[in-house]
């Protein structure tokens, strides 16, 4: 009450002195230090990224100069003749990663939803634990398992499938060939490797769905599945796509496991059961004995891989944000 009536020119009765408000306080220094440190950390990441891009591009320059756009549009890769066209490897990287996603995403989401929504409470921890354990297995072990166990075991399956559908249009274009080491085998191995990543990240995202959203759906008489579709998936879609992107990044960059099981053939074919090659696999297979222009061509593969990963990521983000805008109607 007194505050409303007292004269503006008179200090409040409590003897309050506001002039100290004008002086900077020592606590502010902590804020500015933190700001600088955080900024520096952010810039370091960008700096490292830029340095990698610049130095690898420079190393690869002789090959880029010699081949021009042929480096990514030609599929003739014959180091002995000095021909370096990476298209088949780009194709192999994308195809094997795509197969991996098709196989891994539904399984990962299924596990994540099971662990978060459906499993009895006492089973949740073990499920999560086993998935995290899978992520800890070194990739060379997956590769060896793929080459020793999976490839020989699955080859008759490929043969049977391509025998059954090989003459049918469309299906026959894809499900054809009978090589144990193939795009498909690489895709399967990659799927197993990225499942734990996608599972654990999307599980965390799903756990952030507000219970108010779940209750809203349940309160309307939704079953568990209807609740998941109405509340959980829309809410966590962005995060799930992010986790899928991380999985895709891992699949595209995966080296040794793919090198062991993809078959090392420089060819472009829609036949999933035939051997191919991927950029990372070529690098690891050939780098040891490469020199001169061959070496710079291999580094060039690394640059292209880097670029493809960025393009895939950016476009996926773009698709998701457009989709989000539309579905939220904002």
């Amino acid at each position: 009450m007194t505050l409303l009536t007292h004269d503006d020119s008179v200090a409040p009765a409590g003897g309050g002195d506001a002039s100290s408000l004008l002086e900077p306080t020592s606590g502010r220094r902590g804020d500015s230090v933190f700001k600088i440190v955080a900024l520096a950390a952010g810039l370091v990441v960008l700096g490292i990224l830029a340095l990698i891009a610049i130095s690898t591009t420079r190393e690869a320059w002789p090959a880029f100069q010699q081949e021009g756009f042929g480096f990514i549009t030609s599929s003739t890769w014959v180091p002995a003749d000095g021909k370096f066209g990476a298209l088949a490897f780009i194709y192999g990287t994308i195809l094997s990663s795509f197969i991996a996603l098709v196989l891994a995403v539904p399984v990962s989401l299924g596990i994540a939803l099971y662990a978060n929504e459906a499993a009895p409470r006492r089973l949740r921890k073990p499920v999560v634990y086993v998935m995290d354990l899978l992520a800890a297995i070194p990739s060379v072990v997956y590769g060896l398992w793929g080459i020793i166990v999976l490839a020989p075991a699955i080859q008759p399956v490929y043969k049977a499938i391509s025998g059954a559908v090989g003459d049918i249009p469309v299906l026959g274009w894809f499900f054809n060939g009978d090589s144990g080491r193939s795009y498909m085998t690489a895709g399967i191995i990659l799927a197993i490797m990225i499942t734990p990543i996608i599972t654990s990240l999307s599980r965390e995202v799903i756990a952030t769905v507000p219970s108010a959203q779940r209750e809203a759906a349940y309160g309307m008489g939704a079953t568990r599945w209807e609740m998941i579709r109405a509340a959980v998936l829309p809410w966590s879609r962005g995060g799930i796509v992010g986790s899928v992107m991380l999985g895709l990044g891992r699949a595209m960059g995966e080296t040794i496991a793919v090198a062991l099981v993809i078959g090392s053939q420089s060819q472009i074919t829609a036949h999933l059961f035939e051997a191919g090659d991927s950029m990372a696999a070529v690098i690891v297979n050939q780098f040891g004995e490469a020199s001169g222009i061959h070496r710079s061509a291999l580094i060039g593969l690394g640059v292209v891989l880097f670029g493809v990963t960025i393009i895939v990521n950016v476009s996926a983000r773009g698709i998701v944000s457009r989709f989000d805008r539309r579905s939220q109607g904002a």
């Binding site: 409470r121 507000p210 108010a212 959203q213 779940r214 209750e215 809203a216 759906a217 349940y218 309160g219 309307m220 008489g221 939704a222 079953t223 209807e226 109405a230 509340a231 829309p234 809410w235 579905s327 939220q328 109607g329 904002a330």
Partner: protein
């Protein structure tokens, strides 16, 4: 403590807006209801009856179990793994906790509006259409959506932006949207769990007006922290309070008194009720 509940023939607060000429029928008959979370007894010995086309208010201090009891009416407590219910809640004579009862069906007939407005991050239209689509409603969704929005007094404000996100609405509009969403499945009962606690006074007044309008078609149970709100909107009021269990230092909710709202606020039978409604406690 057994509340003096009017048998259907007794003179109760006249449900003036209700078009029913005969005495209102009993929708819920709660008998000796206890709710447990694990070993902990959250609420004990609740007995009350909820009459058709009336607004029943649950009031009481925090932790008295009023929301817990409310959530028994549509089996929302089932979602909490440790929750368990003793006693009976008869819904038109059928025990809601009979093992043959499907809680999903229960929730279609008994809608719920929550403390914080919780529209889905979808368009206004899709929010309202959610329930009818769940029920596989093949009728004209546009009509259902319009009707529900009109019923919730929201139509004029949103009719030009039905395809826009519900998240862009104000808090009060979101809460009316949630009421419309509940109405769209044509429930018989609407449960409201402190529906105005996140809203400003003007939005609150609109919701209260809306409740009066909805009363003619629906039976409403509202949990509220706000005694004035209970006094303004409800026909009957149940006052809950907490008892401290001395040996375990836990608190159990208990129904103190259940009567017509006029009686609860003007001449309560129990001293604890009087202390609460006169502001001496809680």
């Amino acid at each position: 403590m057994s509340p003096e509940i009017a048998a259907p023939n007794a003179e109760v607060v006249a449900p003036t807006t209700a078009p029913v000429s005969e005495a209102p029928s009993v929708v819920f008959d709660v008998r000796e209801l206890d709710v447990y979370y694990g070993e902990f007894r959250a609420v004990r010995d609740v007995n009350l009856q909820v009459l058709q086309h009336e607004i029943t208010a649950f009031i009481g201090p925090s932790g008295c179990g009023k929301s817990t009891v409310l959530r028994c009416f549509d089996r929302m407590n089932d979602l909490i793994e440790s929750a368990r219910v003793d006693g009976k809640i008869l819904y038109h004579g059928i025990d809601l906790y009979d093992p043959r009862i499907d809680p999903v069906e229960v929730r279609k007939r008994i809608g719920m509006v929550f403390q914080k407005p919780n529209p889905f991050p979808k368009s206004i239209y899709d929010n309202i259409a959610f329930g009818p689509r769940l029920s596989g409603n093949k009728g004209n969704l546009d009509d259902i959506v319009e009707h529900a929005l009109r019923r919730a007094a929201l139509w004029d404000e949103v009719k030009d932006r039905l395809k826009k996100s519900a998240m862009g609405l104000s808090g009060g509009q979101q809460q009316r949207l949630c009421i419309a969403r509940a109405i769209a499945v044509e429930p018989e009962v609407i449960l409201m769990d402190e529906p105005c606690s996140a809203l400003d006074p003007i939005a609150t007044a609109r919701i209260e007006d809306l409740m009066q309008e909805l009363k003619s078609d629906y039976t409403i149970i509202i949990v509220t922290h706000n005694m004035q709100q209970a006094a303004r909107v409800s026909d009957r009021t149940a006052f809950f309070t907490t008892e401290v269990n001395s040996e375990s230092d836990t608190r159990t909710g208990v129904l103190v008194e259940f009567d017509s709202t006029d009686k609860i606020f003007s001449a309560p039978a129990d001293e604890r009720t009087e202390n609460y409604v006169t502001g001496r406690f809680g």
